[in-house]
Amino acid sequence: MGSRYIIGLILLLIISGVYITITFENKYVRIEIAGSTSVQPVAEKLAKAYMEKHPNVKIDVQGGGSGLGIRSVSQGIIDIGTSSKELKADEKKGLEEYLIGKEGIIIAVNLNNPVNDLRLEQLRNIFSGKITNWKEVGGADGKINVVTREDGSGTRKAFEDIVMGKKNKIRSDAIVQTSTESVKLAVKQDPNAIGFVSLAHMSADVKALKTEGIYPSLQTVADGSYKIQRPFIFLSKGEPERLVKDFIDWVLSPEGQKIVEEEKIVPAK
């Protein structure tokens, strides 16, 4: 029996020893970022570049959605919340906002779809269900399959605000996909589908439509001529701590903004 106690004691010593060494070596500073899944990829790129320059800083970037980002930062759980939609007045309370960039939302259709250009009104009617056949907007005869995002998604919110307006709702029988990539996949596979994805996720396997005659690009988003766009925002609770502030300042510096631009997001400055 005695030898077991000794072994147990030694184990305990080793464990506490390791624990102490780890906590003592743990000298770097952590910055926690969470929020919009649309902002996540660019925030990760920014964090990686920043950590390479500042090895003593460790930045964790998580998703969860704009709502979660706003909620967590105002509860003080995280250092920086990210949002891809404008904040409502009651959400803004006590929060500092930093616009890091603007992003276009693309109306995507199948590559085989002959339609090239839709007016905002036509889009509104398609997504609300008043137009149900491609033939009504100059395409081939075929039922329009509307693909949307889930309620709460930042991309959907921005799309609703800009395209649908207050009175119109996206038709309730539209297929709901839970990520940008799955919307693209659904559109890529279905010749009659239409969906919306962010400009940063645009790729050659789906076709981007012009709206009101303007093709979505970094330039048309920047000068405001492409209407379907939304802000990317960093949020902090009150005035951020010095290290967090350093990071945000760096993101807004030319160096940080260059990384933002590389991610196909229009820099704020």
Binding site: G63, G65, L68, E150, D151, S153, L185, A186
Partner: protein
């Protein structure tokens, strides 16, 4: 340390581990009810359960279409998986030569080990386009989800009912064959009826998996909140509803998602009670009572 003291410690230790699972379940149930009941109360339990409109941004929380969605997907997949699974189990237990069983068994077990996201992805890439070309619409449908679920619950039904068929006492089979029955008559009239309680257990387990599956369903069911008019219509399951919107939900919407969990919980309890009743009843009438 004396022997009796040792025994005492082990007995109590085992008791505590057994109790801990009950405590954990009780805590989860309490938590779900605390979080979910406010939404049910403020929206009205009847409106919540039988409401047809789910639109959190307009404060509409009716989960009835999703109850139908969950039940529909589960029923349809059981309809496909039960006959397939039972015949496969019969084949494995009674007909298959040993060499074949050695290949089939591990294959079926592998099927059970594949993560649900892989099934979902397979469905999204392969099955959805096929369904669209064959049956029109978008390809995202109740049927598509059921087919994926069928493949997911098959291994459970096959392996549990095979065990049930195998544990029917050998004397039964010998007696039947001695009376001049053919092999198929023996399986149909003796072995299968004697194994029914175990087979019902396999179906209960399969049903549990089907009704609780989330990720694969989200990827192929289309997630539209509507009562389907045909099996080719897209639907949303209760589990999907929670998973899709949890990240965004605040306030009453958040509570409503927990209330969705309560509905799901009650549904599973009702189905389990029904299935267990069937299980119990069959056990008595057969009189085998082995499984």
């Amino acid at each position: 340390m004396t022997k009796s003291k040792n025994e005492f410690i082990i007995e109590k230790g085992l008791l505590i581990t057994a109790l801990s699972s009950i405590v954990i379940i009780a805590l989860i149930i309490i938590f779900i009810f605390i979080e979910g009941l406010p939404a049910m109360e403020s929206y009205g339990p009847i409106n919540f359960i039988f409401g047809l409109d789910w639109s959190p941004s307009d404060n509409q929380f009716g989960v009835f279409p999703m109850i139908i969605g969950s039940l529909g997907i589960t029923a349809l997949s059981l309809l496909m998986a039960v006959p397939l699974g039972l015949f496969c189990a019969m084949f494995l237990a009674e007909v298959a030569p040993n060499s074949m069983r050695k290949i089939l068994k591990p294959t079926i077990q592998t099927l059970a080990g594949i993560p649900s996201v892989v099934y979902g992805f397979f469905g999204l890439i392969i099955l959805v386009p096929i369904m669209r070309e064959q049956f029109g619409g978008t390809g995202f449908s109740m049927l598509t989800a059921s087919i994926i679920l069928t493949v997911m619950i098959l291994p459970i039904i096959i392996s549990v009912s095979e065990d049930a068929l195998r544990s029917v006492p050998h004397e039964y089979k010998e007696a039947s064959l001695a009376l001049g029955a053919t092999h198929w008559q023996t399986i149909k009239n003796v072995i299968f009826p004697a194994a029914i309680p175990g087979i019902i257990t396999s179906i209960i387990l399969g049903m549990g998996r089907a009704i609780g599956e989330t990720l694969a369903i989200i990827m192929v069911a289309g997630n539209v909140v509507q009562i389907p008019h045909s099996i080719f219509d897209p639907v949303r399951a209760l589990t999907s509803n929670i998973a899709i919107e949890m990240g965004y939900a605040t306030g009453i919407h958040y509570n409503a998602l927990f209330a969705t969990g309560i509905v799901l919980f009650l549904m599973i309890i009702i189905l389990l009670i029904f299935a267990n009743y069937l299980h119990y009843k069959k056990k008595v009438t057969i009189g085998g009572g082995y499984l």
